[in-house]
């Protein structure tokens, strides 16, 4: 596509045209004033010469009329000059300069755009001056000014048209941008939905796998696990599974809608979370140091949300440690809230990742795995419960540490 010509030549043309038109108008005005002054001078010259004599005398002084006419005709402004005497006897105008004009050219009065000036003697008109003024300069100025006006209008038209075109183009680009933005949002939502689906599937697998492992253990060692414990475990996992099924969809997944808040014991919640990820933790040791003697304040929250928070943190830690190392969870009661410290022995969180660790789809594992939604979901649930989660500094090098603060339920 050929690039549109630059705008500045048109702007310059507009400015120059405006200046030229103003100058030409000034010049024209000056010429008109000079013309009027000259005509007045010519009229006065004849009146002072007295060559047309008084109105009651039909005679004239031809020689003086011609002499004055010659001096007037010397001016370039005069293209043709005719002097007439108004005869009292005939009541008509008679051309006395050139004296033969009336006899030779009967239609001379219509032959030019005459400027007619009265020649007065006292209060009476004795004759008239017919002057064909050479207005070629004025006409040239008019034509030039007209040309500049056309140029001005044309340039303004071009500029306005171009501006309108640009406005239209801008509108079109904006519209396209809006469309693309909507498309991006839609794609982002699709991607998010995909990631969430993967995460849901990942989470749904956990209770099912637990039940399968427990069933396999029970089949292999029927006496190793008391039947009551086994059935309770299967029941809990089944309940967790059903709860997850109810929560299908990202909105329900991160919000506690439809699930009743309960007074939760954090020690029990962490145990349930560790149990949930038991078969994915490899050889990692998961240590729950939260006091289970009832001394720790309870938290009013949907229990499965809390389980989800700690199971996600545990899974992340196990994956970071490649199934080797220790996970430690401890809690302390503070003024109106409970602070939970979650730490592992893994490689830790890179410095450049710390600021966006809780953003959705933020992951350190790249294409190899991880949806980047684990910490995001944790932060969303904690925030929904009125608490906070942040990365904490570890006392020794390596490892990751999280500080979760949740409001304590009123006693």
């Amino acid at each position: 596509m050929r690039a549109a010509p630059a705008r500045w030549p048109f702007v310059m043309a507009v400015i120059l045209s405006a200046v030229a038109i103003a100058t030409l108008l000034w010049l024209r005005n000056r010429i008109v004033r000079e013309e009027e002054a000259f005509l007045s001078y010519a009229q006065r010259l004849y009146e002072l010469s007295g060559s047309l004599l008084r109105p009651e005398n039909d005679s004239v002084r031809f020689a003086e009329i011609e002499s004055v006419a010659r001096s007037i005709e010397e001016r370039e402004l005069v293209r043709r000059l005719v002097v007439v005497k108004i005869s009292r006897h005939t009541g008509r105008e008679h051309t006395v300069y050139p004296y033969w004009l009336g006899a030779k050219e009967s239609g001379w009065a219509e032959s030019a755009p005459w400027r007619v000036l009265d020649i007065a003697s006292g209060s009476a008109v004795t004759g008239r001056l017919y002057i064909d003024v050479d207005s070629s300069n004025r006409r040239a100025i008019d034509l030039t000014a007209g040309a500049f006006s056309l140029l001005l209008v044309a340039c303004l038209g071009i500029l306005v048209t171009r501006q309108r075109g640009k406005d239209a183009e801008l509108g079109r680009v904006r519209s396209e941008l809006e469309d693309r933005k909507a498309e991006v949002i839609r794609l982002e939502r699709l991607a998010l939905a995909g990631q969430l689906s993967a995460n849901i599937l990942h989470d749904l697998k956990k209770p099912v796998l637990n039940i399968r492992h427990e069933a396999q253990d029970a089949a292999s060692h029927p006496d190793a696990v008391p039947r009551g414990d086994l059935l309770r475990l299967v029941g809990e996992q089944t309940e967790l599974f059903l709860s997850m099924l109810r929560d299908l969809g990202i909105e329900q997944f991160v919000r506690a809608e439809g699930e009743e808040a309960e007074f939760c014991d954090l020690a029990e919640i962490v145990d349930r979370a560790f149990a949930l990820v038991k078969y994915e933790s490899g050889n990692a040791v998961m240590e729950n140091r939260i006091a289970a003697d009832g001394s720790m304040p309870l938290v009013l929250a949907p229990p499965h949300r809390l389980v989800l928070v700690f199971s996600n943190l545990a899974i992340n830690a196990c994956q970071a440690m490649n199934g080797e190392g220790r996970i430690t969870v401890s809690a302390s009661a503070l003024e109106g809230k409970i602070a939970i410290d979650f730490s592992d022995d893994g490689p830790g969180v890179p410095e450049d990742f710390r600021d966006r660790a809780f953003q959705p789809f933020a992951t350190t594992r790249g294409e190899s795995g991880g949806t980047g939604l684990g910490l995001y979901i944790c932060a969303s649930i904690v925030s929904e419960l009125g608490g906070s989660i942040r990365l904490a500094r570890t006392e020794k090098p390596g490892g990751a540490a999280f500080r979760i603060e949740l409001p304590a339920a009123p006693p």
Partner: protein, 329 residues
């Protein structure tokens, strides 16, 4: 003013009564002659040349006469003569009107003057015609010397006689002129006014045919006025009429109605003191004028020798003119 010196001889005078009486008579005669000579001599030491300003080239202009005056004093012999006559310089006297010129002539104020022919006849100071102005187109008298001019009465494009086929009947012309304008040049002009107007009066049998005359200052202006329609009929010198007809080349209809008898052209007159018949200075001035005009031809004019008898027709015409005027009154 120049005073001619008279020389008288002195000697021993006897006491004879008759001789004493003769001597007294002689002295008285000498004194009378001296007084007469003083009266006839132009006053002062300036050679005064009078003229009337003309705008149509019918006479010399001021600049022409200035050049002539310079040439007079540039000629050593001429200058000597003039000084001997008592002149020390030359003065140009421009008359503001015909009447002004006539008054100056009658007062003897001018030594040389360019005057209309009629004025030569009307002046009473004895001025003598010594030269005549010739313009291109002037005719020469068939018998002897003298430049003659004719006057014409002509019809303009607005008159009924502009058509070449229209008959010119005296009764029609007379009736027409009672209500229409006649353009004419100043009444001092013999060839331009008196002669043609006399002809017209005689033709239409009216002593005063042009009561509605419009006056103009030259023959050329008369023609221009008729062409412009300010007047329907014009009376002027023939040469101006013919020149206009030639200039307009038939594009404007100008028709000759009547042509006057020939009239002598305007003269140059000199004070009686400078009469060539009596004064060598007068003869030399005449010669100088004629020669200078012959060489320089101002406005195409030349001068030719003339004498008073050459203007006899002027007196005759004026006589008829005055008779007509008295008839009209």
């Amino acid at each position: 003013m120049s005073c001619e010196r008279t020389r008288t001889s002195t000697g021993t005078v006897s006491a004879h009564p008759r001789l004493r009486g003769v001597l007294l008579l002689a002295c008285a005669s000498i004194l009378a002659i001296a007084q007469f000579a003083a009266a006839q001599t132009p006053r002062g030491s300036i050679l005064r040349i009078g003229y009337m300003a003309t705008e149509d080239g019918s006479g010399p202009g001021e600049s022409d006469l200035e050049l002539f005056a310079e040439s007079l004093w540039g000629d050593e012999a001429m200058a000597r003569l003039l000084r001997a006559e008592g002149f020390r310089e030359t003065g140009l006297i421009r008359a503001e009107s015909e009447r002004d010129l006539l008054l100056r002539l009658n007062a003897g104020e001018l030594d040389v003057a360019f005057v209309p022919a009629r004025m030569w006849a009307e002046q009473e100071a004895g001025y003598e015609a010594v030269l005549q102005v010739r313009r291109a187109g002037d005719s020469t008298r068939t018998r002897g010397q003298g430049v003659m001019r004719r006057g014409v009465v002509f019809a303009g494009p607005g008159s009924p006689w502009s058509d070449p086929d229209a008959a010119i009947r005296a009764e029609d012309v007379g009736g027409y002129l009672r209500t229409h304008r006649v353009a004419a040049v100043g009444s001092q002009s013999m060839a331009g006014y008196v002669a043609p107007m006399l002809k017209l009066s005689e033709e239409v049998r009216m002593p005063r045919p042009a009561e509605n005359a419009l006056w103009f200052r030259s023959d050329a202006e008369v023609v221009q006025a008729v062409v412009a329609g300010l007047a329907d009929v014009g009376v002027c010198g023939e040469d101006a009429f013919e020149a206009a007809r030639a200039e307009l080349e038939g594009s404007v209809s100008l028709r000759l109605m009547y042509r006057s008898v020939p009239v002598p052209a305007d003269p140059v007159v000199v004070h009686p003191r400078l009469s060539p018949r009596r004064s060598e200075t007068g003869r030399e001035v005449r010669r100088a004028l004629r020669d200078w005009f012959q060489v320089n031809r101002p406005a195409g004019l030349t001068l030719e020798n003339a004498q008073d008898p050459d203007f006899a027709e002027v007196r005759a015409l004026l006589g008829r003119w005055r008779a007509l005027a008295s008839e009209a009154n």
